[in-house]
Structure formats: structure tokens, C-alpha cells
């Protein structure tokens, strides 16, 4: 049996994000891409499950950046067994979650995994999270904000985080789709040498997909948040700043 992990590349929010003149997308030429941080956790959780149960891990992604190979080879180097890349006329485009799930659903069904793991959310999933969307399309049980998993006979036990440290324990019949918030361990490091080895020795399977007609999220414009309501900035040496802070606290009877 297999565990399918869906990896998605997203604009790196560490970089300055510029908006395209159209106003409805980022300036994709100036964007640099990283794997969605939560997807890295999904992969780690899958690898931990594999270590416990011996399942094969297959990573799947839609190549919207032309750079997905790097992410897939890295996953193979970390311990995944297979990598599947969906290719089509989608490079450089912003796929809505529903379009993404629509492309993935038949491929996932074909793989018939025990479990699908992906990140709980992504920085650009304007029309909702992938796990519940894909779960609805496949009509498989699903849940998100998962912080721990355990496979059992015919089901997966998951720990879902609510708020304030409250945890909800669920059992989902497999196959199921999980949105991972945090793996049980920090996503592992893989040395560059191992990634390069994977690039030499492994192959990525490619699946041609049809471009969806309406693939972008519906929006009228993107904008930067207004700078209004920004903090009053305290400047000077650390000791100057500290004096000001203490003054502010004193004025409010907090110190």
C-alpha cells in the first residue's frame, strides 16, 4: 500500500512580493518558489508512518512553476519511493484549490493510496484548503489541522489540534485525506549530495493533464495591506528604546 503526499510550490513570502500590472496575480517573474511549509510537514509525517509500517511513500505534484522536479527529487532523497509530476499547460499560473484538486483527483484515485497527506493550508489557497476540497471530490473521509497520525487496520487515528492546546482524537476509515499542521518531528534535513544522487538515479513519472478552463481563483484585485494603524516606531540605541518602553509602561501603570 502507499501513502500519497501532495507537494505544492508556493511563492516564498520571505521575498518582497510584487503585484502584476493586471492587479489579479503576483508578478510571477519576480517570485521565487518554495515548497509549502505545511507540505514539508506532510511529507515528514508520511516518512514517519513509513518507518512504522513500511508503506511506500509517493509524492505527487502539479508542476505550475517549471521547478517542481527539485522538490520531488528532494522528497525522493528524504526517503520517498516514487514521484509523480502532473504536467500540462499550467506553468506560471495560479491554480485555484478546486482546479488543483480536480487535476489531482483522478491521479490519486489511480494510485489508490491508503492515505493522502498534504499541508493543512497554503499561502495562496484563496478558495479553501486542499485536503477538504480533495476529500470532497474523492468522497473520502478527510480532516485538517492534524498534528499526529497512526495507521491501524482499515483506519487511521489522527490527532487534530483545535485551539488552546485542546486536541481532538479522530478515527477515519481509509482511504482518507489529511491536512497536516505539524509532523511529529521537525522535517528532516537531506544533504545536497543525496538530492543530487536522487537526480542521477531516480526518475520522476509524468502524467499529462488537461488544463482546466477556469483555473485561477476568482478575485478582482490584489493589494498590499494599508500601512494605516502601523505601530509608532521607537528608534535609538537599545538603552534609549528601553527607556521609552519603560516610560510607556509607567504611564499605563504596567511598571
Amino acid at each position: 500500500m502507499t501513502l500519497a503526499v501532495i507537494l505544492k510550490q508556493v511563492p516564498d513570502v520571505v521575498e518582497e512580493l510584487a503585484i502584476d500590472p493586471s492587479g489579479t496575480d503576483l508578478d510571477r517573474d519576480s517570485v521565487s518558489y518554495v515548497v509549502n511549509e505545511f507540505d514539508e510537514h506532510a511529507l515528514e509525517e508520511a516518512l514517519l508512518l513509513r518507518e512504522a509500517t513500511g508503506e511506500d511513500v509517493v509524492v505527487v505534484g502539479v508542476d505550475t512553476t517549471g521547478e517542481l522536479d527539485q522538490a520531488l527529487y528532494t522528497a525522493l532523497a528524504k526517503g520517498a519511493q516514487r514521484a509523480v509530476k502532473l504536467v500540462g499547460d499550467v506553468e506560471g499560473s495560479w491554480l485555484s484549490t478546486r482546479a488543483l484538486a480536480g487535476l489531482l483527483a483522478p491521479v490519486i484515485r489511480e494510485l489508490s493510496p491508503r492515505l493522502v497527506l498534504t499541508g493543512v493550508q497554503a499561502p495562496d489557497d484563496l478558495d479553501g484548503q486542499l485536503a477538504p476540497t480533495l476529500g470532497a471530490l474523492l468522497d473520502w473521509p478527510h480532516t485538517g489541522v492534524v498534528v499526529g497520525t497512526e495507521l491501524a487496520d482499515g483506519l487511521v487515528r489522527v490527532r487534530k489540534e483545535l485551539w488552546g492546546g485542546i486536541m481532538l482524537d479522530l478515527e477515519l476509515a481509509t482511504p482518507a485525506v489529511l491536512g497536516i499542521q505539524a509532523a511529529r518531528a521537525t522535517p528532516r534535513y537531506v544533504p545536497v549530495g543525496r538530492v543530487r544522487q536522487a537526480m542521477r538515479e531516480s526518475t520522476i513519472e509524468e502524467v499529462e493533464v488537461e488544463t482546466p478552463v477556469e483555473s485561477a481563483p476568482k478575485l478582482s484585485r490584489l493589494r498590499a495591506p494599508e500601512a494605516a494603524g502601523r505601530a509608532e516606531m521607537l528608534t535609538g540605541s537599545p538603552s534609549d528604546v528601553v527607556e521609552r518602553i519603560l516610560e510607556i509602561l509607567r504611564a499605563r501603570g504596567l511598571y
Partner: protein, 435 residues
């Protein structure tokens, strides 16, 4: 077998033995018999020595010369000799925290009669630890991930690498903009490009280069970390990737020499990049400025009423043999008093930042009485100096933190040689250029 020998437990003794008229029959002569030492197994030593680059680990004959000169031993229970001894007693270096404590400062190799070379052993064993999937300290993992992703260990956007230039106050040509050959390609490196105090020194150095009329340019956003410390931390694959990319970038431009701010970059360019096809004439900025002293001297017009002491960077001094240039520059500063610390030049202490130590600070601090940087700051304070002079970008943040944690804030300042020169030239004030 000698019939007069009998085995008593695990040792042999002669029933009758008279040596030079002295009767040492029985237990008396046990000490003269050969005895097989069986209290350790050599497997762990052989395992380490089997890693390419770590062969010399097995050559250690436990003389112990390396221990007192090891800067890590001074503040903790560590020493190159002890690694071998621990391996004898069943503690594998691969799984021991010791693996991450060595700063590859090279002081042990300087005194080792057997040429046991920790500068090669450590990266080789660390690489095996990484390749075998052993977990690595979280801070180091983050620095390596950042380097792979952004080309710098700080996790800063590549495009911001040249952002400091706008504060330089003098033109700093960026090669992808000027599209002409330069004489000196200035390899600025990561901390001098991103760290606030590193930027202070970069601005000072830019103004000095400009005042000297040097024909120079930087790569700006195209520059990536030279990668030497990542290599020494065990990430050889990452280093190779960076080297290949940097060599490719450098091949696009015409220049005659490279001047580096960072001794770790100097080391990479001199000793590693040639293996990947990158042959350059590389200078540390102190070497270049010392050569320019005849032209620099008349510009050093301001009196600096400071009492200075100087820390030799491991990768400038021991690793690359440059001890004099920084001292010539310091002595050229008008008005200063200069005192050496007891541990200087070849026997200089280490700031703790080399060999990946820059990204293992908490890991190491939890295993030492005090940080190496703190030990060094105390040494600097003991000379009576009010200013600790440095010329390696790792040191400024490490020593400034140490000055605070040892309680000497306000009494000892940490300044780059470039900052002092620029101040003496009237190019910057007493305060850092940017702050």
C-alpha cells in the same frame, strides 16, 4: 611456549628470574612480560578512519599535545586526543555531541607530531553523520536549509544582498549593472552583506577602497555564500553546489583579482575552488590594504585615542598564514596603543564561529563553561584594551554578544580594522557608519 612461564589470571610471570644478580622470581617480574591490551576494540577507530578524509584519525598515539592548545578544551571537557580515546572505549564520534564542538581552528594540527588532521576529519565524519540521516542540531539545520534555499545562512532574500550599497555613501559598482571589467572583484560575503554590524564594516571598507581610487566592483545579488563553513560542518554537497554556481557567475565577468572580506571565503577560494575549476588570485582585504599602506599613510590623519588588542582569525592566520598585514595596519593608526593578547598569532585563540560553530552557538554553549568568544573577550579585557580589533565578519557579532554576557559592555568595543582605518581617514565617525 616457554615452560617456565605460567599464566596468573591474565598476565604472565616467570617462576625463576635473576636479572643482574637481583632475584625477581614470581610476581616481581610480571611487569617485564608482554601483555596483550584487550580493554578496547579498534572497530570504532577503524570505522572513522575509513571515511575519505578521516584516515589520520587512526594515527593518533595519544601523546596529548593537542589538548592544552585546543580552544574548546579550555572551556569544556573536549580535546582531539580524547576523541580517539573515547572511540577506544566504545563511544562513536558519529553519535557523540563532540562531533559538533570542533571549530576546525587548526591549533591541534599545528602541534601534532602525527599529523592527525581534524580540519579534514571533522567535515568527513560530519558528512557521514548527515548522509546516514542522523539528526543534526536544529540551528545548524536551519543555516544549511537557508544556504541551500537563499544562498546565505541568514535566510535573507538574495535580492537584498546588495541593499547595503545604498547606505555606502560612495559608489559601489555592481558588476551586473556596470558591464565592464574591474581590477578587483570584491567578494563581500553573507554577514558583511546582511548583518547590521557586518554592513558597518562593508561601508567603511567601501569608503576606503573609494578613497584609494581602487577599481573595484561587487557581484551583489548574484553572489552566493562561498560555502566553506557549510563544507566544514559536513555539507560537502551543498558546498559543491555553491562552488559550481559561484564559479559559473564569476566566469561571466572580467577582473584581475578577488579581494574578500571574509577569511572563510579566502580559504574556500584558495584551497577548494581550484578543485572545481575556479582559479583566482585572492587577497584578504587586510593584505591588500597593507600593500597599499604607502598611499594609505598620508590619509590616516585623525588621532585615535584607543588602546587596542587584536584577535587573529583562525582562517586568516593559522589556515592561510597571514599574521602581519592586520598588525601593520593597526600600527599605522595614529595615536593608538597596541597590546597583544597572550594567545596570539600561531597560537591565537578561536572565536568559536569556524567550522559551522557560527550556527551551533546554543548547542555548544550548553556544553561549555563559557563560550569561546567569552573566554577571548576576558583575555582582551585583561590586556587593558578598550577596543578589540577584528578582521573576520563572524567575529563582530560573536564578540559583541560576549562583551555583553561577560558584563563588559561600555568598557570594551569590538571594531573591524576597516572601521578603525576609515575613522582615522575621517570617512566615518566613532560610531558605526550606519547605525
Amino acid at each position: 611456549m616457554d615452560s617456565s612461564l605460567r599464566k596468573v589470571q591474565d598476565v604472565w610471570e616467570q617462576d625463576t628470574a635473576i636479572v643482574e644478580g637481583v632475584d625477581i622470581s614470581g610476581p616481581w617480574n610480571r611487569m617485564f612480560g608482554q601483555r596483550v591490551i584487550w580493554n578496547y576494540t579498534p572497530e570504532l577507530i577503524d570505522e572513522i578512519a575509513s571515511f575519505p578524509g578521516a584516515e589520520s584519525f587512526a594515527w593518533c598515539y595519544q601523546c596529548g599535545k593537542c589538548v592544552p592548545v585546543c580552544p574548546v578544551d579550555v572551556v569544556g571537557d573536549y580535546g582531539p586526543r580524547k576523541l580517539y580515546r573515547k572511540a577506544q572505549t566504545g563511544i562513536s564520534l558519529l553519535d557523540s555531541p563532540d562531533l559538533w564542538l570542533c571549530t576546525t581552528c587548526m591549533n591541534c594540527l599545528r602541534v601534532c607530531p602525527k599529523q592527525v588532521d581534524m580540519v579534514q576529519i571533522m567535515p568527513a565524519v560530519r558528512e557521514q553523520a548527515l548522509l546516514s540521516g542522523r539528526p543534526l542540531p536544529a540551528e545548524l539545520q536551519e543555516a544549511l536549509e537557508n544556504t541551500a534555499r537563499y544562498g546565505n545562512p541568514l535566510g535573507q532574500p538574495p535580492r537584498k544582498r546588495e541593499a547595503w550599497v545604498k547606505d555606502a555613501g560612495v559608489p559601489v559598482p555592481i558588476l551586473h549593472q556596470i558591464q565592464r571589467p574591474v581590477e578587483w572583484l570584491w567578494w563581500v560575503e553573507c554577514y558583511p552583506s546582511y548583518h547590521p554590524r557586518g554592513i558597518d564594516a562593508s561601508i567603511a571598507l567601501a569608503r576606503i577602497f573609494h578613497a584609494l581610487g581602487l577599481d573595484f566592483g561587487i557581484l551583489g545579488r548574484e553572489e552566493k555564500c562561498a560555502g566553506d563553513s557549510q563544507r566544514l560542518a559536513g555539507e560537502r554537497g551543498l558546498f559543491e553546489m555553491l562552488a559550481e554556481e559561484n564559479i559559473r557567475t564569476l566566469s561571466k565577468y572580467e577582473f584581475r583579482h578577488i579581494v574578500v572580506t571574509d577569511p572563510h571565503a579566502l580559504n574556500a577560494f584558495r584551497k577548494q575552488y581550484p578543485k572545481y575549476g575556479g582559479q583566482y588570485d585572492v587577497w584578504h582585504y587586510t593584505t591588500l590594504l597593507a600593500r597599499e599602506l604607502p598611499r594609505l599613510h598620508p590619509l590616516l590623519t585623525r588621532q585615535l585615542p584607543y588602546r587596542l588588542t587584536f584577535h587573529d582569525p583562525c582562517y586568516l592566520g593559522r589556515h592561510n598564514g597571514e599574521y602581519d598585514a592586520p598588525r601593520q595596519l593597526i600600527e599605522a593608526l595614529p595615536g593608538v596603543e597596541f597590546t597583544e593578547m597572550p594567545r596570539c598569532r600561531q597560537n591565537s585563540y578561536c572565536c568559536g564561529g569556524g567550522g559551522g560553530g557560527m550556527w551551533l552557538d546554543s548547542f555548544a554553549a550548553g556544553r561549555q563553561r563559557r563560550r569561546l568568544s567569552e573566554e577571548r573577550v576576558l583575555e582582551a579585557v585583561a590586556t587593558g584594551a578598550d577596543t578589540l580589533v577584528i578582521c573576520c565578519p563572524y567575529e563582530v557579532s560573536r564578540f559583541e554578544d560576549a562583551v555583553k554576557s561577560t558584563g563588559y559592555e561600555g568598557r570594551l568595543r569590538v571594531r573591524d580594522i576597516a572601521e578603525l582605518l576609515a575613522e582615522a581617514m575621517g570617512l566615518i565617525g566613532e560610531e558605526p557608519a550606519k547605525a
